[in-house]
């Protein structure tokens, strides 16, 4: 383990497949984060009407996709 191993691993991450995997990971993280915040709002009793539940659900998906695109734009 050392510089040689680092070069090998960073080579994987810099490949198109590696970048795709990193962005997929980022999307999962952002989605989990946004949905977790949604749950925290539910914990304080906010947004329980069915209409609000649907709206926050789509908001979570939009938030995760937006942040992933922002990350993609920043990394490339």
């Amino acid at each position: 383990m050392g510089p040689k191993t680092y070069l090998l691993i960073s080579g994987w991450y810099s490949s198109p497949l590696g970048i795709a995997a990193m962005l997929g990971w980022a999307f999962c993280f952002y989605f989990h984060l946004a949905n977790g915040v949604r749950h925290l709002f539910w914990d304080v009793g906010w947004g329980f009407a069915l209409k609000d539940v649907y709206r926050s659900g789509w908001l979570v998906i939009g938030f995760a996709m937006g942040l992933t695109l922002l990350t993609f734009w920043w990394v490339i």
Binding site: P3, Y6, A26, V37, L40, F48
Partner: protein, 130 residues
């Protein structure tokens, strides 16, 4: 107006919601709040350093403050994920014997992973500051 939420909280009270469950509920949320900050910080740092050389990344990870942040992130991640996986097992595994075994496996694995990660953080810091 009685909402579904109030009904289920009444039901939970009647089922003797014990101290342990309350503590886990709180722990899950406290770790979630701290991971909002630690998680975003980590993802930004990883992407920022993704194209950099070994020596730059080693110097970054070897900084004591970064090490403390990484160690807290690891602790929170495995605590949060152990509690989350426990809920998944409780919700989807009917067999109570299997449920107990799986929950203890989740806990043991999380503790092992946490300690291993901490050892590696310390080792990296030692190599960086040789």
């Amino acid at each position: 107006m009685e909402t579904d939420f109030q009904v289920s909280s009444e039901r939970m009270k009647s089922q003797k919601l014990d101290y342990h469950t309350t503590r886990q509920w709180k722990g899950q949320r406290i770790s979630a709040l701290s991971l909002i900050f630690l998680g975003i910080w980590f993802i930004v740092e990883v992407l920022r350093h993704a194209q950099e050389d070994y020596s730059v990344v080693l110097a970054w990870a070897g900084n004591p403050w970064i090490g403390i942040a990484l160690a807290s992130l690891i602790g929170m991640v495995f605590y949060h994920s152990a509690l989350g996986l426990q809920v998944v097992v409780e919700d989807y595994v009917r067999n109570s014997n299997l449920q107990k075994i799986l929950i203890s496996q989740v806990k043991i694995l999380s503790i092992i992973m946490t300690i291993l990660s901490w050892v590696f953080i310390i080792r990296i810091a030692m190599i960086a500051n040789e």
